[in-house]
Subunit: 222 residues, 2 copies
Amino acid sequence: MQAEVLRRINAREWKPGDFIPNESELSVEFGCARATVNRALRGLAESGLLDRRRKAGTRVALNPVRKATLDIPVIRYEIEGKGQSYRHSVLSLERMVPPSGIRARMQTQTGVKLLHLVTLHLADGKPYVFGDRWINPDAVPGIEKADLSAQSANEWLVANIPFEGGDFSFSAMTAGKREAEILACKEGEGLFVIERSTWNKSHVITSVRLTFAPGYRMHTQI
Amino acid sequence: MQAEVLRRINAREWKPGDFIPNESELSVEFGCARATVNRALRGLAESGLLDRRRKAGTRVALNPVRKATLDIPVIRYEIEGKGQSYRHSVLSLERMVPPSGIRARMQTQTGVKLLHLVTLHLADGKPYVFGDRWINPDAVPGIEKADLSAQSANEWLVANIPFEGGDFSFSAMTAGKREAEILACKEGEGLFVIERSTWNKSHVITSVRLTFAPGYRMHTQI
């Protein structure tokens, strides 16, 4: 069944951008279980050949080169890779009960204290990005003993704590008073923001919001 | 030689984050040509096992899961995938000599006219993103006859013009008068921007700057 779907795509019987029949129609046509159809289509979607949207249905993908790969470097390497000197500074570090939005993102119980850490990273002495980070100490053995002013939490976590998956979002914000002070920019400037959470089998390990100084660009090629 | 480097990484003789010896040191140690070393390291870097930075040297990569994949959808599919209705509107379309920055990006000769197109994409009738796009008509046969008010240039190009590679950058900007008018937002709001150029063997096909309405988030998982 998967082979036949693939053949139709390659023969352009189903053209790029076309909707294909839905799962129940295909299971009737091929005389096989709907679970089989689902598995076949899922495999083709994972290879990028089909485009499945929950509400809009399944289409033949428009272009095989539609997935860009994004490099997520340790901030120090990113800065050093540009030939600039790296320095970081811990602006605050405390154990506290997080606000409810963070608690939901970290998937912890009400009242549980987490590590809250704000770190400014500097390139050639100038503010480059600051990270507002929450860490679940239960998921990170050794974090209480780590010297996070010697090695940034970003680097320490990557080197010491394996993770299984992560969630990234990219957006823009308008600098308020706090961002302007930390990044030495004007209030009202547009800033690039990356939010990411990483987890292992049992916990959300950490969730960080990185706010970049004006002018930052993230770059990739396909 | 590549097998031995791989063995050392796996045996953690060279640990994640460690700098490894440079190419000339390795060529002496292994008694092989520097080109061989270079090829071996390049292969390992492409698989994500080594982290090569021109100025900073080569390190063992910190984490095998460092590359995130980014889905680059056609804007209509992105909007319809959220269950919203899609509409687009061509704000301007003319053939003109581009300013020098665009000419450089499009790699065309001085004085050559390109197609300049500004398109607003709307979700449920509200401004979602606008694209300021340049197209090289020499690279895009049929573009002059295409009805770009019926099908957006974004979709028309993806469906009709194969490309070999692309360049993406992501950043933030501060809304000026023009952005505020087009996107119906306030001047001074932080906006998310994607710039992308795509090319084939002989030409840069198109270069577009997408400026999103406030609140837009791009999302991915690893």
